[in-house]
């Protein structure tokens, strides 16, 4: 029974979620397991390539041999130190953040059935920033763990607020109300954040340290967010079956035995934990969660059992490539990954907005 349920969406869901174009493709090609596995492996290969590239490219480009030397037999030369102390942590951050944002994006778009949803567009970044900044202003400098917890709380509140606003809109939540509610909550939080930051120097420091939107600056160590991240990933994986059923519509999902409220709660928790981890670790990065799910869906169709892993891998590739591109384009300075992704992502958003009548309910 369960297998039947889970195998249906591959054919039926794309038209609901991925849009007409992808739906037709999926119908025509009907991606099978082998093909999907090949795409997953290919994406992983690209991600691996992106990791290597991220290690190679920097203020001073290095050769593969140098990277190998630094990783395997470090002698403490300048290049070894550069690679081990600067590029490696940055690459790890990129991998973590990319995977988080990719999976969070897949979940957001699945739960909202909204092709233009993105954690960054739902006010997660600004909610987290507001929580951190206001707490710093009230209580002084924060421990990394407190800061991470606050970021999660702020992100969660923002997401819930956005969902509440958009679902209480007339005609229920549509893609447009979700995005607009996200824009409204974001700008409310942004306004409050700028206000607080201007009045409190310590809060400004906390924000500046954090808001660069870059994988180069790491606040809170990876250990702090690791538990949240792992829980988020586990929840996301646990959510895929329900998501497959939910993509057929809530009623159908319910009649198939999916506890809808539980599934939604798990989904929102997973989204918040994952996107919150990314935000806490690397600052606000928008549009990655928008791009990656579309990429993943184009590769493996609409089955969430495949979308989540492919989303994670593709997220790593997209984020690292964007970060590396940012280092190359703006020499001798560098472009933060947030800006690179916005420059690529915003036109893509426009493309999606053009594609179909999103406003129709």
């Amino acid at each position: 029974m369960a297998r039947d349920v889970l195998s249906v969406p591959a054919a039926a869901a794309p038209s609901a979620i991925a849009g007409d174009g992808a739906g037709r493709d999926a119908d025509a090609r009907r991606p099978r397991r082998g093909r999907r596995l090949r795409w997953l492996l290919l994406a992983a290969l690209v991600a691996l390539g992106a990791v290597v590239l991220s290690m190679l490219v920097g203020g001073r480009p290095s050769t593969l041999a140098e990277v190998w030397h630094a990783v395997v037999t470090p002698t403490g030369s300048v290049m070894d130190v550069t690679i081990r102390e600067l590029r490696w942590p940055r690459t790890v951050t990129g991998v973590v953040v990319g995977a988080c944002l990719g999976v969070a994006g897949v979940l957001v778009q699945g739960h909202t059935r909204n092709p233009i949803a993105d954690p960054g567009l739902l006010g997660i970044n600004q909610g987290a920033a507001l929580a951190i900044v206001s707490a710093t202003a009230m209580a002084g400098a924060l421990a990394p763990l407190t800061q991470a917890l606050l970021a999660f709380a702020g992100a969660l509140v923002a997401v819930v607020a956005v969902f509440l606003v958009s679902t209480s809109a007339r005609g229920g939540a549509t893609p447009i109300t979700l995005v607009l509610a996200g824009a409204a909550i974001s700008s409310l939080c942004t306004g409050l954040v700028s206000g607080i930051v201007l009045m409190d120097d310590q809060a400004l420091d906390a924000l500046r340290f954090w808001q660069v939107g870059s994988v180069a600056v790491r606040n809170g160590s990876l250990e702090v967010i690791a538990p949240f991240l792992l829980v988020g990933m586990v929840l996301a994986v646990a959510n895929v079956g329900a998501l497959n059923a939910l993509s057929l519509g809530e009623d159908t999902a319910r009649s198939l035995g999916v506890p809808v409220p539980v599934a939604r709660t798990v989904g929102i928790l997973a989204i918040t934990l994952l996107a919150g981890s990314a935000v806490t670790h690397a600052g606000p990065i928008a549009f990655a969660g928008l791009l990656v799910p579309h990429l993943a869906r184009a590769l493996v169709g609409a089955d969430y059992r495949w979308l989540v892993p492919v989303g994670a891998v593709a997220g790593v590739a997209v984020l690292l490539l964007a970060d590396t591109a940012g280092r190359v384009i703006a020499r001798p300075g560098e472009l933060s990954v947030g800006v690179v992704l916005a420059v690529v992502g915003a036109p893509f958003f426009v493309h999606l907005a053009r594609r179909r009548r999103l406003a129709t309910t």
């Binding site: 233009i116 606003v165 958009s166 209480s168 809109a169 007339r170 005609g171 447009i176 109300t177 995005v179 607009l180 509610a181 824009a183 409204a184 909550i185 700008s187 409310l188 942004t190 306004g191 409050l192 700028s194 206000g195 201007l198 009045m199 928008a286 549009f287 703006a330 300075g333 472009l335 933060s336 947030g338 800006v339 916005a342 420059v343 992502g345 915003a346 036109p347 958003f349 426009v350 907005a353 053009r354 009548r357 999103l358 406003a359």
Partner: protein, 413 residues
Amino acid sequence: MTRNAFASTAGAGHVTGQNAARDAIRGAHSEAAPVPRSGPAGPVADGATVGCVPAAASGAGFRSVRVLRAGPVSLRFRPRELLVAAVLTAALLVAVTVHVALGGTPIPFGQVLAALAGQPVEGGVGLVVTEFRAPRTVAAVLVGACLAAAGAIMQTVARNPLASPDILGVTSGASAGAVAVLVLAGSGAVGVAGLAASVGMPAAAFTAGLAAGVAVYLLAYRRGIDSYRLILVGLGVDGLATALTTWMLTLGDVTNAAQALTWMTGSLNGKDWPLVLPLGAAAAVLLAAAVAAGRWLLLGALDRDTAVAIGLRLGRVGLLSLTLAVLLAAVATVVGGRVVFVALASPQIARLLTGSPVPPVAVSALVGAVFVLVSDAVAANLFATPLPVGVVTAVLGAPYLIYLVMRPPRRTS
């Protein structure tokens, strides 16, 4: 459906609005005493339910449109609109005085008025008022009036209360243009000084704002303009322009945090006469043109066939008014940066106050000016550290946007 600048969204609200607008216009052409109200009866009549083009002013036995005739010349006017405009003008004058008086160390109102009137005032008060505080006050009026007028025009033409230069990417486009000049001219540290900057920045802001506006319009055009697609595309272009602005601010040596803040948040700090005067003159001309265009906008709120039958060249009028709106938004942006939500909220406040079928341009401008003046006075005085005005307008305006998203269902007639 409609293939012209007056985008049409299907929705009963517009029927109401069209009827209302027809009523309003009928006043100009016939002397029908109480204007017949063909909009749906009942609770719908008030503007709250419909976004942009609601029922005309209600009120028992109140003639919403009157006509003055003198030989061949006739003048159509709405008493309520005139009354609202008069009250708002008074409020504006009060706000200006308060704004000047509170721009730092409080100055007694009497001395402010005397200094503004050009009478000699003891001490340095005269100098402080005319050289330091007045430019900022004028800048606030300019920014508010221009943004609100731009918003009124866009909301009318797009037939959507969400359409405004900040949502459609025009403001952030203009901001990006201005910052580009700032960075390329290398004048980041000293601010907007020199002829090149004072001519180049408005020009670049206008060009970039126009480019953003045109891009949004063209990208949203697919067999006609769907209002919501327009807004989504606008949000995308807005995101792109904001990212470019952020990038350019890190690129150039814009070490002055206040200046960066102007372009990201909107601020009136440190505005002086050399910047405000030329742009103020431009704004005055543009505002006059916008008010004059108000009649077209009213006619444009009719359904397409009626508007064309009356003799309105819809395409041309839409294009002209939108260009005007972009110009207004660009001027405001060059002066104050991205002061958000003024253009979104002011026209609808004006519409509710006057009960007009479309946001009236002149009243919107007054509302916008008062809005920015009050916000700036609050931002500068209510907190331990003076805040930029954009912070206050954002915090005040965001709930309104949330309300717009959540507003109750449209009634169908």
